[in-house]
């Protein structure tokens, strides 16, 4: 029987963000925006959803006077991502 795919990850933008963060130690909001081609508003909403689920942490600081947002995947996020990929393999086979 096929495992259900995590609905939080099974969306293009959130999956894109999680994949980027899986390959990096941390990434800035602007980097994620550039790589995913998302709008700032949409990306911000999706990051909040991932953060509320405990999949990522969002650190807000300042660079000079400009706000700086840096995201990092959590252990829970890594586990969820790995489980998602495992479940995905079932669909591919």
């Amino acid at each position: 029987m096929l495992k259900e795919l995590d609905p939080l990850l099974h969306s293009q933008l959130r999956l894109g963000v999680m994949s980027l963060l899986m390959g990096a130690e941390s990434a800035e909001f602007t980097f994620l925006k550039e790589k995913t081609n998302a709008t700032a508003g949409n990306l911000s909403v999706q990051l909040d959803k991932l953060s509320e689920a405990g999949y990522i942490t969002i650190e807000k600081t300042f660079r000079g006077k400009k706000p700086l947002t840096r995201c990092r995947i959590t252990r829970k996020g890594i586990k969820a991502f790995e489980e998602y990929v495992q479940a995905l393999k079932g669909y591919i086979k």
Partner: protein
């Protein structure tokens, strides 16, 4: 990626994951700043130590030249903090490279602090781990001159076992220039 609830096929998901991970991973930034800063500081300390121990009337004060490393640490920490904030992405390899050099610094610091207890045979001890860190940095950054620099340090470290403590500082100074500063400048010109 405009929408947030669009349904993906399994194959689309995998393709997306592969593409994103490829973009994020596997690149270390290869900043030459630390190589140039520490290359010059350690070269000056080595040559200074050699000169003061060999030619000055106050050889006992020679170890004081290593105080130069204190401002170098301060500059390193300030620069590192600013750099960390200004990079769009910090890759795993950046982290590995950073911790490699922090671990190396911890490994060699006792030799500097307690050098007197080993009759200042410091370079014979510290050049080997410095060689290892330089070589591995070369592997991480995929930069051949740093790997060759690591080999220079290993050769210099072995040579030091056959020299008296004062002459070891001369070898250490030249090893830093060849194994660290020279690759550092090449790294800077290659990444500009």
């Amino acid at each position: 990626m405009e929408t947030n609830d669009d349904r993906l096929s399994a194959q689309q998901s995998l393709t997306l994951i592969e593409s994103m991970i490829r973009q994020a991973k596997g690149k270390a930034s290869g900043n030459s700043f630390y190589f140039l800063l520490w290359g010059w500081v350690i070269a000056v300390c080595n040559f200074g130590m050699y000169y003061l121990m060999k030619f000055s009337p106050y050889p006992n004060y020679a170890p004081a030249v290593w105080m130069l490393t204190i401002p170098a640490w301060v500059v390193t920490m300030i620069y590192g903090a600013r750099q960390g904030r200004s990079q769009g992405i910090i890759s795993h390899l950046d982290q590995v490279n950073k911790w490699l050099w922090i671990a190396m610094a911890i490994t060699i610091t006792p030799a500097w602090l307690f050098g007197e207890k080993i009759n200042w045979m410091v370079n014979a001890i510290i050049l080997m781990p410095v060689g290892a860190a330089t070589f591995v940095s070369g592997v991480i950054l995929k930069f051949l001159p740093l790997r060759l620099g690591g080999i220079v340090f290993w050769a210099a470290g072995i040579l030091c076992y056959f020299l008296d403590p004062v002459d070891q500082y001369l070898v250490g100074g030249f090893a830093i220039i060849l194994g660290y500063l020279f690759p550092g400048y090449l790294l800077r010109s290659s990444r500009e």
